[in-house]
């Protein structure tokens, strides 16, 4: 049942590193994370890789397989031709810590600065609200986000242009969208999205949507509606005239 596969892994740190090739026996249904673990257990115990759930639910094992951002636990070895060497490298948009592990702490800092959820006053004296399924479904799509940061990794604004200081990235726009489209929320995040969040940097190439392992329609359902809210608020010519007249 098992066949020999060749896997090339990035081994090294921020300062220096190289691709090292390993041979691994691939059994039926094996995913790339299994191969990495087999190498770790038998050939390279100090090989660094993050993982937790091994079922596509926690978003820990993000890396790049043959240059494409993927979850290692949800990518089967059999998706690649048997004679092909599979190359696994760390996410490019974040600094390498070691081997396949990157420093993703920037995402947590960005998230912390998104204005917090702020519900409207309760609908009933017992402190409860009523929300309907059709209202919650829209933000529920964004709550599927497992914080794998693959969308951040693929986004050219971050990956190529390294605008981490100016652009919050698709994952954090999705995070803001949860609350912006939450039926109970009353906070206004438009100013934040426009300035600190740098939403204008997104030129809707939809690369993020393509790599999302949770199939969140990031660009169409989260980012574009947020952009529209900003346009309505800041660039509506009638509103601009009104602001001018009324001071």
């Amino acid at each position: 049942m098992s066949e020999q596969r060749r896997v090339r892994l990035f081994r090294g740190t921020r300062e220096r590193g190289e691709l090292k090739e390993y041979a691994v026996a691939a059994g039926e249904g094996m995913v790339v994370l299994d191969a990495v673990h087999a190498i770790q257990a038998e050939q390279a115990p100090d090989l660094a890789v993050r993982w937790n759930c091994k079922a596509g639910k926690c978003g820990s094992c993000s890396a790049e397989i043959n240059g494409k951002p993927r979850l290692l636990c949800m990518t089967r070895m059999s998706d690649y031709p048997p004679d092909e060497t599979i190359t696994v490298t760390p996410m490019k948009a974040f600094p390498v810590i070691k081997d396949l592990v990157t420093d993703v702490s920037w995402n947590y800092e960005v998230n912390k600065r998104i204005p917090a959820f702020q519900p409207r006053a309760a609908d009933f004296p017992d402190g409860s609200w009523r929300m309907y399924q059709y209202e919650v479904e829209r933000p529920q799509e964004f709550r599927k986000c497992i914080e794998c940061f693959l969308c951040q990794d693929v986004c050219h604004v971050l990956r190529t242009h390294e605008k981490h200081s100016a652009f919050m990235g698709p994952a954090m726009l999705v995070r803001a969208a949860v609350y912006e489209m939450h039926p109970l929320d009353e906070a206004d995040r438009r100013e934040h999205l426009r300035h600190e969040g740098g939403i204008g940097y997104c030129n809707i190439t939809k690369c993020c949507t393509e790599v999302c392992p949770e199939s969140i329609t990031i660009t169409d359902n989260a980012i574009i509606p947020l952009k529209e809210r900003l346009v309505d608020a800041y660039f509506d010519p009638l509103a601009a005239l009104w602001r001018k007249l009324t001071g």
Partner: protein
């Protein structure tokens, strides 16, 4: 040891573990004392803890779907599900406070699925009399952890990510602090605190077939044990009935009980719905007798019909599956079939169980809207844990608290599905509250430099050895021992063998060798985790040997029946020098009104 190697922080409250219980505890501690300094320490990145994998929902008698529900029914279900072995007061507090904790999550931004009139929707689950699980499709845990995570980052809490604690310090009979290392740098950190909350989850990594991740090595259980706290009920390990069995690389991954809650049925190789044959006496009359009745219940007629037997408690269903397989009626890859395709239409399945659909499609190439899943039992949860006060969650060591899976008593001999997510909210909050109170007892006691130095030297010892054991090989040998001898069915000979094998593994663990640097070195992390795994494995085997009956999740082939005299007896584990001691302790009797409620219903 160079002091330069060590960073030191002082906090009022340190919470170890950042799943639902740890997050909830940290939020409460920081809210309770605005001026309190609170730290949250997580072994992985924030938001990746095991809570994220919880699927089906959180049990709370909100009565939004079935108005007959209330805390009394929930309490009764919990006690009966726990085979009357639960700490009755914890079960009562849990049932009473769970609705407030769920509503509170909504106020913090949670988006639970809705009823037609706009309230939180609730789904049926194993062992629950009424539809009781607040849920978000089949990704409830993800929703909960994200809401708690965002609440926590906007509270005044310092988060220390990818930091593993290796030792607690106790000084003058009180908790004084904890020593850990950061995975990234391999450097040590000392947290000085007079109140520490353990919320480290479970021990499932001690078995081969498990739904648990690498983190679940029983760290909190072992830290508390080493600090002199008592553990109880360690023989009660829940084997969830439905884990994936094929392909081999996904063996053990959880398949939510929600599949059965939404109408999924269990079948053997001859297509028989076998659960009708496994009705325990305790539940006779509560479940459907015929497939027609069960199907009518699934279709929504829930007042005139009774629940399908697939929704019996997890211990019962796991043992039934185990027997079907053992007697040759299993599926091709050693499981049984779980079929929802013939009971619900494809759109409904995709809407209610989206991540199950995705998981089987991607990992097993099975379309669950068309074909049956192959499933079998998987190690999932430990009911046993640190002995705590029911009201405060304080352990037998002052200043030490425990909440969530690492705490013991609440679930008795078997946990009901959905009671974990509510447990971690209810008792996470209480632990955080009382830890913040305990912090007022005064500044943390002194920790001696020599104790810190010795701990760091021990942790670094594997780097000094040459030609030693591979830590991954030792871990895998331990898993094989526990799977074989301390699994679903146990007996005296097997458990004694397990203890003898664990003794040998203790020596091997002391001979592990680690190569490479201290920076993000999983070989080293695994070598250090072995210490915890060995303690919890031994505790499980010793407690299982001491319980000479079958009850809930603990089944002895040499003592197949329940013994009423042992129903309220707990096996308590404590460290005495280098020795693990075992004693029996009787729980206080259940008050008459609650006993009557359990017996007769409300």
């Amino acid at each position: 040891m160079a002091a330069a190697d060590l960073r030191t922080y002082t906090y009022d409250v340190v919470v170890i573990g950042a799943g639902g219980a740890g997050l909830r505890a940290a939020i409460e501690a920081s809210a309770h004392r605005g001026e309190a300094k609170v730290a949250l320490v997580c072994k992985s990145l924030l938001g990746k803890a095991h809570t994220v994998m919880a699927e089906g929902g959180a049990a709370a008698a909100l009565a939004t779907v079935m108005k007959e529900d209330n805390w009394r029914v929930h309490f009764r279900d919990t006690m009966r599900g726990g085979k009357m072995h639960n700490n009755w007061r914890m079960a009562q507090i849990h049932a009473q406070e769970a609705p407030d904790r769920i509503n509170e999550l909504e106020a913090w931004g949670a988006l639970f699925d809705r009823t037609p009139d706009g309230r939180i929707n609730q789904r049926p689950f194993g062992g629950h009399t009424y539809s009781r699980l607040a849920h978000v499709g089949d990704r409830t845990g993800l929703e909960m952890i994200r809401v708690l995570q965002d609440k926590a980052v906007h509270s005044n809490i310092d988060v220390h990510m990818e930091c593993t604690i290796v030792r607690l310090f106790v000084s003058g009979g009180r908790v004084a602090g904890a020593l850990g290392y950061f995975r990234e740098t391999g450097r040590f950190v000392l947290f000085r605190a007079g109140a520490i909350v353990l919320a480290t989850g479970g021990i499932g990594k001690g078995w081969q077939i498990t739904s648990n991740s690498w983190e679940y090595t029983g760290d909190g259980h072992a830290l508390a044990y080493d600090a002199g706290a008592e553990l109880l009920d360690m023989e009660f390990v829940q084997f969830h009935p439905t884990g994936m069995v094929w392909p081999p690389s996904v063996r053990g991954i959880l398949v939510t009980e929600g599949v059965r809650g939404e109408g999924g049925v269990l079948k053997n190789s001859s297509g028989e719905r076998f659960m009708f044959r496994y009705m325990p006496d305790m539940f006779k009359g509560d479940f459907a007798d015929t497939e027609a009745e069960a199907d009518a219940w699934v279709k929504g007629d829930r007042t005139k019909n009774r629940r399908p037997p697939e929704l019996l408690t997890r211990d019962v269903v796991s043992k039934a599956i185990n027997r079907e397989i053992a007697e040759g009626r299993g599926s091709p890859h050693g499981g049984v079939f779980l079929d929802i395709a013939s009971k619900q239409n494809a759109d409904y399945i995709k809407k209610k169980l989206p991540s199950m659909y995705h998981q089987f499609k991607e990992l097993a190439h099975v379309d669950i809207t068309k074909d049956a899943m192959e499933i079998g039992p998987t190690t999932h949860y430990v009911m046993g844990g640190i002995k705590v006060d029911a009201e405060t969650q304080e352990a037998t060591v002052p200043g030490l608290f425990a909440a969530g899976e690492v705490g013991g008593g609440m679930h008795g001999a078997n946990r009901l599905g959905g009671n974990s997510l509510s447990d971690l909210l209810v008792f996470g909050r209480r632990a955080g509250l009382h830890a913040a109170e305990a912090a007022k007892r005064g500044s943390p006691p002194h920790i001696s430099d020599s104790e810190v130095d010795v701990t760091m030297q021990e942790a670094l010892a594997p780097f000094e050895r040459a030609g030693g054991e591979n830590p991954f090989a030792v871990q895998s040998a331990l898993q094989a021992v526990m799977q074989r001898h301390a699994g679903i069915i146990r007996d005296q000979l097997g458990l004694e063998t397990a203890l003898a094998e664990l003794d040998k593994l203790k020596i091997r663990a002391l001979e592990t060798e680690v190569t490479g640097s201290r920076e993000y070195n999983p070989g080293w992390h695994t070598a250090l985790d072995l210490r915890s795994l060995l303690i919890v494995s031994e505790a499980t085997a010793r407690a299982a040997l001491a319980r000479t009956e079958s009850r809930g999740a603990h089944t002895r082939s040499d003592y197949p029946d329940s013994d009423e005299r042992q129903a309220r007896e707990q096996i308590v584990i404590k460290k005495d020098g280098a020795r693990m001691t075992v004693r029996h302790e009787s729980q206080p009797p259940i008050p008459a009104d609650l006993a009557k409620l359990i017996k007769e219903g409300s």
